[in-house]
Symmetry: C2
């Protein structure tokens, strides 16, 4: 198996011609210099050169090894500048302190890309960080694409290139999966792991400290790469989260869509700590990362196993029409476990149509179970498997099949594997297999793997992989609109924000900003005496609420700075005086701007709408239902600001408690469209103004559809003025 | 590796002498007859005999093969009765229709145990079920222990027995793990899988239809078995859930405690369907199974992988004192992923003490990370690993270590493995390893496996296994009291229940039953006219509630059969008349017993206490907080009735929302001890009366500790009278 033909007869992406791309010199250089080669096998500086020389590279490789005449019988050079011909790429393995000079010479030589293997930069502290900045400057000056530093290198299995510019021990098989990793060490494990499972790669990139080329440019390159069908990414540090998301959205949808499966480690605070002491990265909130990856079409996985399990399912099999799974097994127990697993991950187990049932009845013994999961019984041989697999795949209620085998005494394992390969050749639906065991089923597994039928030792893993493919499918199908700007009074909001210092806006300022952005704000007035308050209350109608306003008050309830349900002029007057007196007595130092009067908002669902500037992703929007239970269960979701209306609609539905808004438990249906619009408006607001570091509408009271929603409280926190 | 010595120098369970047990004849027969042998290799009837003959069995095996003189050169018999010597066990491979006669002869011969491999019984429908009943009768008559029918057989690796009375292709290695499975087919896969991982077994039992010996007797046998340290169970059908739980509690706690790890498949409704069409079993509610297994010390796992991963961690390593994990890695990325995984499963990542930090600083290069997770850096060789692993294991803040290795060019994998084996010899704390990759790390992994250091391809799995060991540890340490009966008026409750027909009790009857069992029931009175109601209200004090009572009303709110917050005689009188009129107009057919008057219960936390008869487990108790959110998040738990008070206390804490009861979100602390007592009382009630099929106290209003709890509504449903 050296290359993988796509199953479909349609011209696939691999048939399309590649367009020129800025990273071509990284992946497909016509000539490569290895700068810093030493003559000692088993050291990185030697191994890299040796790997390029012996991996079948179609271009020319030059060793740069000051003081040596030749390396492995190949003429060596003192400097890259001494090389007689043009050179496209240099792989740099010099010690950290001379890498800058080496790159400088590469620039002078006209080299377009460098892969800096050497460590001793950003990851070792301030001095290394300085060195790294210097490399960036030089690359910028000479317009050089740099991979690394502190990386394993780059591999391109394209038969027309065959470049192993890495210190990985062996070249991987060719395949349609690209793997990108911030951790070089992980790459060595992944290559070893993949070899055993006969998983091939199109490109394999360790990008290390990503001082130059990052995952974002790599996404763009791989999107166009005709050899790549699916992109895998291991990431520790989100330096430009927003750029990553935008690039991912371009890659994962549309005509030439390719899925991205990613591990972002540092999921837990402790893991993030470990990652930051290792890469010096800033940790954002993991729940935001989770939600935002989902909205960028990045399938977030938690382990290498899950990543490859899902990648081969996608890369080797056609896209299923839906989530209906047929299971064929020779063992009841594993059939039950697979059914449990399938249902747990969201696949469905359809009933067969009568024609299928008839076919199964005909082909299988009486003791067989002809319902889904089909049990062909322990003594089944290839004929029964063939008949059952073919029958279920032909059923219009079935979108994909999982074939389970346990090695029993009658089981002709290889013949069954060959039969499945045969059925697979003409099937338009995906097939996965789980031959359970190890040595006994080994040769059968090899037959399946050679035919690119995804194989999993456990049926549970097959189900998880199929579920990930469903996530890919649903992401492609779900609508994403353009970001439409809703009409707002940006100038009015800007005037308030520009005038305010760092810290919290007062409530009346906050309400004014929300009002400028079209959020449903109750009529209100900041009153400095009881007469004013009563007059305004008479105008808007009872009952009303009084709230003390001061830039020094953030949590009103602690200071008794709120009076609710005032239903007459007397009540307003009384509360006004009492509150003013109370404030004067308990917190005389506070600069009280006045008391805000507004209508009491009728009962409804309590909603939280938030905005927050994430260190990686920039402005984000948060949605959840209010109340203690929801906080307990962390039932909230996030989106990137600004939001389109489809994303806002999805956010509302991602929250479990939002079933209540639909009237699930006998309540009235809320004005969900209004909530969605408010989300879009909050996104527009935090997207427009960098200084808003936090925004909390808590709660927005969501009434029934005919009443609508109303902001009951807001806090907006500003960062320092630039 | 043929046998496994326990690490500890203390005399372990294996040194203890075995007591005689009724199942000895199943596992350690002195002589075995195989009844129904045929001379054709590759068929079950031949293979079984051949396996016993060639697996090194220390007793005598007799083929019973009517019409044959010998099988494999061993003298054959026409009937078991023809065998000249005494026979302890018969393995029966005759076709289903003659098995009864064969067992009859076994009985006459004085055989003590039969293993019925033959299929064609319960699993094929009513006719098979009849056949199976017949086998049971014969076994009962002759006092024969029967394993099966419809099973793979029994294996005992004890060097003094060495019996492979199964049609598994090869005898497994000896080890300290016992595996019990209801699915025979799964066994073949498990044996193959375990062989590759060099996992050995003490006993291996496929118990099939469990017409005779069930998992319950097997637990008892294995509890005493000096060769077994840990018991694994695959179960599809819970026939006697309560018996299982009671047996498991005896095995998993106390002096000779052995953990039980179990897969119970049919977790989802679809899986349960598949299992029942396969075994004809009754499905209980899976959440109950989950909770009840937990309270029986059964570690429920979901896959074969998890089962063995955890089993070897427990069986091969000492029990850690606590959950603090040190990680040593040569690759930052996997170190971060492992930290994430560890924290996610509930392990902690401690800081090292200064002595450890000093040792690490001394032994490792400057660029290494000497905090937990320790990164010995990509070019580390055995010396660095040795120093780091030894140092972290000596740290008093560390309970166990995980060693991660990725195969980099300098990595001397085998030397590192040998070093870890060396450290392991003297370490009193558990070590697990993850050498990531496949072929490159293969020989290192073999070295670890041979030394019984648990190895996992992914660090995530090592963490899951360690977390399961923590579950075992915590279970052993947690208190379980005896069931103490609280004083109740059983006769009063019994009088009401005995008199009532099938269906729901009326509310006043329900309250009376609860009152008899000491639950906090509000004072109440069933009134048939307004004067009576007013008089009673005056007596108990306002505000009061009116509730219409009829055996035909189950959901009162739909019928406007409730009036709340009545705060005067007039209000009571008015509501009484209105409700009676309303009922007469809208549901004139209803037999209205009267209106129940009781005090309005002040606000508090809404608690649900339930009781339910589960088809497998019998009477169970349910606990949860009320309200729509909790229902949405399924935040409830179950226990077996009757409950001891420690279990009741744990149940309350298992529910996430119960943090609120502790006053977590600024509320008052509830009377939690009162709630626990109410749970014990509900358990006593549903345990005492078989006819209670469902009981729902919804809600119990839990006030602050100084106010206490009060039942606000109850529904009790009775099954038919016997």
């Amino acid at each position: 198996m050296t290359s993988v033909a796509p199953k479909s007869a349609e011209p696939g992406p691999s048939q399309r011609a590649a367009k020129p791309h800025p990273l071509d010199s990284v992946f497909s250089p016509k000539s490569v210099a290895v700068a810093g080669v030493t003559p000692t096998p088993g050291t990185v500086p030697f191994d890299i050169f040796y790997n390029i020389l012996t991996s079948g590279y179609r271009g020319t490789v030059y060793p740069v090894a000051p003081g040596k005449r030749s390396i492995c019988a190949v003429k060596a050079y003192r400097y890259v500048l001494d090389i007689e011909e043009d050179v496209d790429q240099a792989v740099i393995v010099f010690p950290a302190n001379v890498v800058d000079r080496a790159i400088q010479q590469c620039g002078q030589k006209g080299i377009k890309s460098v892969i800096v293997i050497s460590a001793g930069f950003r990851e070792v502290g301030p001095k290394g960080r300085q060195r790294e900045e210097r490399l960036k400057d030089i690359c910028r000056e000479y317009n050089i694409s740099m991979v690394g530093p502190n990386c394993l290198g780059v591999i391109n299995t394209d038969p027309e290139v065959q470049l192993n510019a890495s210190f990985a021990r062996k070249m991987p098989e060719a395949g349609r999966i690209a793997f990108l990793s911030q951790s070089g060490a992980l790459c060595t494990a992944v290559l070893d792991y993949a070899r055993e499972k006969r998983i091939g790669f199109s490109k394999f990139v360790s990008f290390g400290n990503k001082a130059g080329v990052t995952e974002i440019e790599l996404f763009d390159y791989l999107h166009q790469d005709p050899q790549t069908d699916v992109i895998l990414l291991y990431l520790e540090e989100l330096r430009d989260g927003r750029g990553l998301i935008e690039a991912a959205r371009r890659v994962t949808r549309g005509e030439n869509a390719k899925p991205i499966l990613a591990i972002k480690s540092g999921r837990t605070p402790q893991g993030a700590d470990a990652a930051s002491s290792h890469t010096g990265s800033l940790a954002g909130e993991d729940m935001i990362c989770d939600a935002v990856f989902r909205e960028a079409g990045i399938i977030r996985v938690v382990s290498i196993e899950q990543m490859f399990n899902s990648a081969i399912m996608y890369a080797y099999q056609p896209m299923p029409a839906d989530d209906r799974l047929a299971i064929v097994t020779n063992a009841g127990g594993p059939g039950v476990m697979a059914t449990d697993a399938a249902v747990s991950v969201g696949l469905s187990i359809p009933r067969f149509n009568p024609a299928t049932t008839a076919k199964l009845k005909e082909a299988l013994p009486e003791t067989a179970n002809i319902k889904n999961p089909v049990d062909v019984i322990g003594d089944a041989r290839a004929d029964r498997y063939n008949a059952a697999v073919a029958a279920v795949l032909e059923d219009p209620n079935v979108d994909q099949a999982l074939v389970i085998l346990t090695p029993q005494s009658m089981t002709d394992i290889d013949a069954i594997a060959r039969g499945i390969c045969q059925v697979h050749k003409t099937a338009a639906k995906p097939i996965a297999c789980s031959f359970m065991g190890a040595a006994d089923v080994g040769s059968g597994i090899h037959l399946l793997q050679a035919a690119h039928i995804p194989h999993y030792i456990l049926p549970e893993w097959a189900c998880e992989a199929m579920a990930d493919v469903q996530r890919i499918r649903r992401w492609r199908e779900q609508p994403i609109g353009d970001i439409e700007r809703l009409p707002v009074d940006r100038a009015a909001a800007g005037a308030i924000l520009d005038a305010a210092p760092e810290g919290y806006l007062t409530e009346d300022q906050g309400l004014a900003v929300l009002k400028a952005y079209g959020l449903p704000v109750p009529r209100h007035m900041l009153c400095t005496n009881a007469d004013e308050a009563v007059a305004f209350a008479e105008q808007i109608g009872y009952p009303v609420v009084l709230r003390a306003i001061s830039s020094q008050i953030v949590h009103k309830s602690e200071l008794k700075a709120v009076a609710l349900n005032l239903d007459s002029a007397d009540a307003v007057r009384g509360a006004f005086e009492r509150m003013r007196r109370h404030m004067a007595e308990t917190v005389p130092e506070i600069d009280l701007h006045g008391l805000l009067v507004r209508r009491m908002i009728p009962d409804g669902y309590e909603i939280i709408l938030g905005g927050k500037r994430d260190p990686s992703f920039g402005p984000t929007v948060m949605f959840g239902l209010g109340g203690i239970y929801v906080a307990l269960f962390k039932d909230v979701t996030f989106g990137l600001a600004p939001l389109d209306r489809h994303t806002a609609a999805r956010m509302v539905r991602q929250v479990k408690a939002s079933q209540l808004l639909e009237g699930a438990r006998g309540g009235a249906r809320a004005d969900i469209e209004g909530i969605e619009q408010s989300l879009v408006r909050v996104g527009q607001l935090v997207g427009d103004f960098d200084r808003i570091s936090e925004l909390d509408i808590n709660p927005l009271i969501a009434g029934p559809a005919n009443v609508g929603n109303m902001v009951a409280d807001v806090r907006i926190r500003l960062s320092e003025r630039n």
